[in-house]
Assembly symmetry: D2
Homo-oligomer: 249 residues x 4
């Protein structure tokens, strides 16, 4: 284990790498690595305040990204991983890199024996995602590449994940890149995007093409009463999944 997350009483989190003897954490000061390493799951006192020292979960990593504008929500990442059948040892291709949130989730799911290639057209997006993946300690499983997946994608992928404005333009390249039975997943907020993408998938040998929207409702549980939360997350996006075959029957 080489990363911990510090959690304060207000729910704020800091991702900290356990390297060297001490580490300087913005807002918390200089901390001793040995103290953190021996306090996993326990509380430590920093500047008079108690903080918990946690092993980073996938959600912790998503919540401690730097520059995380518009990241895909946890529920949608969860569904994407399962519906695209991402598993240990897989080779997965993603575009675009965004802030690296999905990249990190994929890298966790494929494990040490798996590999993720993350494409983006923009150099600055790649830089942000690369930095976040490095901070999460997952750089050895991930390769970032500047390029246009609408033109070409690395061959032999178990899954291709498209989180871009015009996924329909990359459906052909994705089909070509996927192994037989590999999964293509796209994520889009608008119905028109979904429509263009699905109609394009239907022109190629894809099976089990399916689009879903996931709504998550929190249940507020108190001694005096149980009810769904008054505040609620609305629409985030539609997830479309399809499975490559060599021909349809």
């Amino acid at each position: 284990m080489d990363r911990v997350v510090l959690l304060d009483k207000r729910g704020r989190k800091w991702l900290v790498a356990l390297e060297g003897d001490t580490v300087s954490v913005r807002g918390l000061g200089v901390l001793k690595i040995e103290k953190l390493r021996t306090s996993i799951g326990d509380a430590i006192t920093i500047g008079g305040e108690s903080l918990l020292v946690l092993r980073p979960s996938a959600r912790d990593l998503a919540e401690t990204l730097s520059r995380k504008a518009q990241i895909i929500t946890a529920k949608d990442v969860a569904l994407l991983l399962y519906y695209a059948d991402v598993k240990p040892g897989d080779f997965v291709v993603e575009a675009g890199s965004g802030s690296g949130a999905v990249t990190i989730a994929l890298a966790r799911a494929v494990g040490e024996t798996g590999r993720v290639v993350s494409y983006d057209i923009r150099e600055d997006s790649l830089a942000v995602a690369r930095e976040n993946v490095r901070r999460a300690g997952l750089s050895d499983r991930v390769e970032f590449r500047q390029g246009d997946v609408r033109i070409e994608i690395d061959a032999g992928a178990d899954a291709v994940i498209l989180d871009m404005l015009d996924p329909w333009n990359a459906v052909h390249a994705a089909h070509k890149a996927l192994k037989p039975c590999g999964h293509l997943a796209t994520y889009s907020p608008n119905m028109e995007q979904v429509k263009e993408t699905v109609l394009m998938m239907q022109k190629l040998p894809f099976i089990e093409v399916r689009t879903v929207e996931l709504l998550e409702r929190e249940l507020e549980v108190r001694e005096q009463g149980v009810r769904p939360a008054f505040a609620s997350l609305g629409h985030t996006g539609y997830l479309t999944v399809a499975r490559k075959v060599l021909r349809r029957v």
Copy 2:
């Protein structure tokens, strides 16, 4: 690869193990293993009908279970895996075994280097789950055990998953069994079950206790019109997740 799934035009699926020279499949007759092995992603003809030969996905395995009464839905399994932070190499404990659907999903997610222990009180449930895990080719990662998780659970778990009538009665044992920072997830249909479970969790050092309900809506996409599906899945269950610490702050 030692399993394939056969898919016919009506959407029916058969899980077939690739062992020996031939295999007899109920309803399809005797098939040659070599033919299946070389047709992954492609169509074969059996008795005049075309079927696709697929590498089994997690969903295929869930859909081809024998005796699958009342299995947890795909969306809920997806969320459970992600929110309980199940990843390659993990040691995960589950109760009860049910028909083995969650067991199989867990076994896929922890990979070859991970381990799943599945408890059930009933011998017959264990038998069904064990058989389904064997058919899925995942027996070497899973250990079935007859026992009562309300009394004791194997120590050192990265995650404990409870899909049982009275999960609140196993919350103490789960806390004890979990590694520091390990995740406890419970799944229950009724709000009273959720309430008892959450109130019990709040008495112990668990953090980030949260209950959610997931609603999945299918989007029907056709050239002539896009709309959410008229048919819809209703409530399935509430997922409660919590994270063990040594003390709360």
Copy 3:
């Protein structure tokens, strides 16, 4: 009161007019009107079986329509009445007539002093709707008219309700027909229909243009457990409402 609804133990309902001395009801035989009239809210025995005699509610009338293919759901009717601000004394125009379900709901809401005009292009739809309105005892408030609302609508309407395939083609005529501050409501299943309709409304002096989808979840309440229903109604349609003004500001 001149109508009752008979309800049997299996939930079946019959709408019966209280006219003359006796009435013959399909499946129940000949019943005495006086007996029905004096048993409102109470049970009567017919052929050895107990049935309840009810004053017809709006929902009873919707549930006892003859030939009721594809009627708008109760929740959507409820929202439509309120969001289009239909109230006692109003003059409301509707197209198409469908099976008369919305017509009946409108006729109930505008009361004895109100008036409903229901347009349909098809003579056979008008016949079904007219018959259902007659059976509900509301003929004196409703006028059926064969005609095309895309061309012209009766002037002076407090509200115009469009339940047709191409509502956008009637938006101009509706604006012209509405009183200042009158409400236009359209109901469509597909997002493309909604889009064309809203974009058309935005070209005219309509304010508060808003599209909503209503999801109704039943809560199953039992001594042993409370939870949302496992079965659920999916998408029915989108309701778009707008309010005519003379000019926008």
Copy 4:
């Protein structure tokens, strides 16, 4: 017509009574009544700014309440009116008065020939509700009464609407007060409240006892893309409806 609503470009609304020659409106200054009366549906200029003059809809009245803490949402009012079968001429009893929002909706739906009695235990709630009903111009249809509906309710009601903390304690009195076939509707945020209420209803001759939750999703319609709103209203409350009979069959 003796009320108008003024709407400015930012969506703010003022409810103004058309009495006398001029009226002083907080924030807008002194306005001429005749000008307002002749500008229905049109724009007027006040202090260099354009405002629309509207006939008040039910929603306008709800949105221009004074002191409107925690009012029931429009969608829930809509469903309540329809499911409790409130119609022109009805006599409806409500408790508590709240800020008068539901009272106003009921008064609109029963029309000039109908009557609403609104109970509250607290004098100050009654005062707020009475003032809001007066401002809406509906005082002649509504009677406010200080009293406890758990003890006694005016007999002969077509519908009884309970929006109070412990509706189950008023179910007996409501049954007694309702006409045969009259509707009882209760509105509560928590599942425990619903459960107690439904179990109480099941002890009395009520039929068609049903609890629903309504979720409203706004659809954002733009030339460049259609999608459900990112922001969303969460849970508001559960609506339970039942129908009084003299005995069950």
